[in-house]
Amino acid sequence: MIGDTLSRIGRVGIFLVRVLRHAGVVFTEPRAVVHQIYNAGARSLVIIMLCGLFVGMVLGLQGYDLLQRFGSEDALGVAAALGLLKELGPVVTALLFAGRAGTSLTSEIGLMRATDQLTAMEIMAVDPLRKVVAPRLIGGIIAMPLLVAVFNVIGLFGAQLIGVQVMGVDTGAFWSQMQGAVELDDVNEGIVKSFCFGVACSLVAVYEGYHAQPTAAGVGLATTRTVVISSVLTLLIDYILTAAFLGR
């Protein structure tokens, strides 16, 4: 069991190195990478914004309810900003990414495997790792932090909407307390997390697709595995990174 897990981690790691050897596609075939940023990022944008708004609004309600018990509802801005920047933004975005972009990456690559497209490339002496996998992995890695940033801004807007417009927290207090309490390190923590989640979720998605059994059932299974593994991995990495950042 432990041996299986280790060898699996090893295989994924080797796969990552093999794909990243082709990181040059960013320069040699920028158009392919742009295409994948579009697929992974721009096409997830609407769902990310929608969810960001609702998460922010919930933060506004819950934060207000909690803080007003201590008479500190002015601190709502701080609570919402730190909650979004450090945790909710990166984690929720990564989970949504796994469900939206990750599954489509896996099923796309898996179907290419099942219909011999990857083999055909190999026979044409074109490495599918370079032509298919690398642009998708890199596109996902680039898209994730941008999605997280959009999620955070929309989320803050949502929290402000509820807290200030509905619950009557003072705008100035909301923003000034936030600006007083949020450090650049908090923002950086969120960016580091979102980058790590981007690597993890994109890697899992392309790995599962590339190694899917070349049948309809195999592709379906790989897609499910992508969601499950990405989600668990996201939360695991989140814990490790949080502990590391707090321990500094």
């Binding site: 295409h35 940023i37 579009y38 940033a149 000034s176 600006q179 007083g180 908090d186 960016i191």
Partner: protein
Amino acid sequence: MKPNRSLEIGTGLFVLLGFAALAFLTTQLPGSGMRLGAAQGYKVLAKFDNVGDLKAGSPVSMSGVRIGRVEAIAFDATDYRAEVTLRIEPQFDKIPDDSDASIQTAGLLGGKYVGIGAGGSETFLADGGRIEFTQSAIVLESLVNKFFANFADKGSSTGTAPASDAAPTKE
């Protein structure tokens, strides 16, 4: 791969939006960042002995209604006091020039804000005007110290049992 213009424009928009959001988060949220937004209204200055944790952006209110915000806090090295610049919104232009300003706390743990109490003068504060009567922030620690000091004094004078326990440690 064939060029696809709408796809490229879509990606460009997404990337721009993402970077704009990133820029907003890194510059607007941390207190050390820059501020956006044109200031409205007129400026009033007030000097305080102690501003506590009053921040630029904190509200300025009168009778509990917000009329403006703190624009800047500076330290005046000549008289060792904090000079606070308040920006009052233009519709609140009938504030007597002998009004007083005090730094108050919203709730037990809430943020600080500047409260203005109306004076009786016939002339009003104008841009660049100065509020002369100020009351500094109440620092919670000194309040607590004062409270315990009073408590100890009272205890030693009446000579009750629990206070006599406290008295030797005080003296």
